[in-house]
Amino acid sequence: MNKVQNNNIKTDLENQFSTESKQWAWSNSFDADIVMIPASHVLDFFGFLKGNGSFDLLMDITAVDYPGREKRFEVVYELFNTTTSNRLRVKVALAEGEEVPTLTKLWRGADWFERETYDMFGIKFTGHLNMRRILTHHQFVGHALRKDYPADRQQECTEAMPIHFDNDPNYVEKDVPGLVPLNIGPSHPATHGTLRVMAELKGESVHRANVELGYLHRCFEKMAETHAYNQVIPYTDRLNYCSAPMNNVGYCKAVETLLDVEIPDKAKAMRVLLCELSRFIDHVVCIGANAVDLGALTGFFHLFSLREKVYTLFEKLCGARLTVSMTRIGGMAQDAPDGWYDDVMQVCQELKKGVSNIERLLSNNKIFLQRTVGVGAISAEDAIEWGYTGPCLRATGVPLDLRKNQPYYGYDQLDFDIPVGSTGDVYERYLVRIEEMKQSIRIVEQICKNVPEGDYTIRDKDIVLPEKKDVYGNIEGLMNHFMLVINGLRPPAGEVYSATEAANGELGFYCVSDGSGAPYRLKVRPPCFAIYQSFPESITGGLVADVIAILGSMNLIAGELDR
């Protein structure tokens, strides 16, 4: 289906740009269409695709550095259609010093992605109004994701960035008396992480706002380039640490696509189960934190005892609570212990009760309603324009969920619903999350009742380490273990963009392999990065108190935001 649709688009494009299109090179990799275009065609090309409705959501912008090539950089755009779920990858080759036009005029969501590309590679986007660093600190010299920047060359930052508002150079200084600058974060109880919001207040309302991020930029992508494929898994845990297993799954799925292997049914079921439990606790943390910020401390204690129950399940399964690293490329690390699924079933009952308790506590709570209804509302068009996915997008009424739209791991066999809202305000985001928690429990129960038989991992000796009893028990196991550890797992050269529906929205991994034992480039498309972009706009004009409500409802996880 994917291909046919894109064939139409290809024909349309060729009719529209009959002369230019001769320079375009189409290719296909793992069922994804890729087209290479010159930088000079960028605006027309994307303008046409957006204008005729083929692709309305700009998922990701990134770059890859190939120092050996004549044109060293490749800027990569990932497009998505929210109705048909089609994807298209567009690439532009650039030499050092060359620029490419900005897409911020077409999609507002392009803003931060382009800034990040500039920060990491030094590629400038012509016409971008705010080409400043975004993740690394302001005293940083060089561009860290270039291949010639050593992974461990640290640069000291000696002073904190002063409060500033120069994100919008078009802003005309109006003569408003009595403006007070206010700095929130990056260490503030209400930001739940290392977020920094700078606001200019006029009395109680926000006149102008700006955000600064990167306080938790731990260089995930550079670390991935310097580690073997399986060693990257623990790093993925620490992206969205509120739902760590989902990142494991997303990453392994990408590499497995690259290797072209299909994991056994049991592994799929275990992954889905872990993902849904994680989705549950991720929403628990989000709602709990949001409620605490609005003054409902009771919610925190109720909700966190639910989370503790799920953590205990994880602990039983693998020994770790938070950062489980349970997946391996090719399947799972180990099987579930006896009786684990029964435990899960039992906990599900408690979770169900817990969710209804929270509902009783919050859903009709007067204070909660007054603080959330109508606050931070956003229309579906605007949300797509900014690159929203996940619960925040669904709260605006767009029923986009990859578990339904591009089912993977047997989600199409499971019975569950996708809740949607209509106004996209904080209260509806809360409602969508509550409903998703219930649906997740439904999925978990279906799986527990019907766990597939069979192995929990594939047994390809070039991909999966043999079991310890074989390593110590027979020579073949020992040899295979040795070879895999020394050589590493080596996917064939190629590239893939693989996405899963994480708790916050589309979590994409763009992985480029050059046939060696470590990823050549691994880009994460974090869902909350795109959502957070719209934050300054959604708080401008509102009250300071609403800032906190909106911030909490976006569920920003610094690990994933800053990577």
């Binding site: 640290q154 930052c157 990167g214 306080y215 609570r321 938070l322």
Partner: protein, 181 residues
């Protein structure tokens, strides 16, 4: 006619007072108070911060050790609990917050990242917060289990009760002011 009661001899007073009071050094009394009423300021930046929530939460309950009064203003706290990765960008802010705390103040570094950079040997991660602020207790783990954090707090209480010398604290200078000179 009332007779003046005879004054008890000096030894007698000691004898009697033992039945309702005990003597100690003032220092010990103060330390006892301090160790049982640590007011932590949680500086949770990353995954460890999420585990720290569990430490505060219902099951592990830090309150049992007298440290439940969580303060988000450094001026009201005497225990800085750094939980999570500190990047170079965050460094100056961390020092700033540490300086704003009033004496006596203590620092617990929770997790591999805060203690040493953890497995992020990378261009933007500070390789341990002890490069910029003095640390009293290091809690190992990635993330440490809540039990380990409780153990860290108990160790700190012991350190306070025993009046352990803290040369790392006494010799500390703000590294950023130094480099600016």
């Amino acid at each position: 006619m009332a007779q003046a009661r005879p004054l008890p001899a000096q030894q007698n007073i000691d004898e009697i007072s033992k039945s309702f009071a005990f003597t100690t050094k003032l220092d010990d009394l103060v330390a006892w108070g301090r160790k049982n009423s640590l007011w932590p300021m949680p500086y949770g930046t990353a995954c460890c911060g999420i585990e720290l929530m569990s430490v505060m939460g219902p099951k592990y309950d830090l309150a049992r050790f007298g440290a439940e009064v969580v303060r988000f203003s450094p001026r009201q706290a005497d225990l800085l609990l750094v939980a999570g990765t500190i990047t170079e960008k965050m460094g100056p802010i961390l020092v700033n917050i540490y300086e704003q705390m009033l004496e006596p103040k203590y620092v617990i570094s929770m997790g591999a990242c805060a203690s040493s950079g953890g497995f992020y040997r990378s261009y933007h991660v500070m390789q341990g917060i002890d490069r910029v602020i003095p640390v009293d207790i290091y809690v190992p783990g990635c993330p440490p289990t809540p039990e380990a954090v409780l153990d860290g707090v108990i160790s700190l209480q012991k350190l306070i009760a025993d009046h352990k010398p803290r040369p790392w604290r006494d010799n500390w200078v703000n590294p950023y002011e130094q480099s600016a000179e």
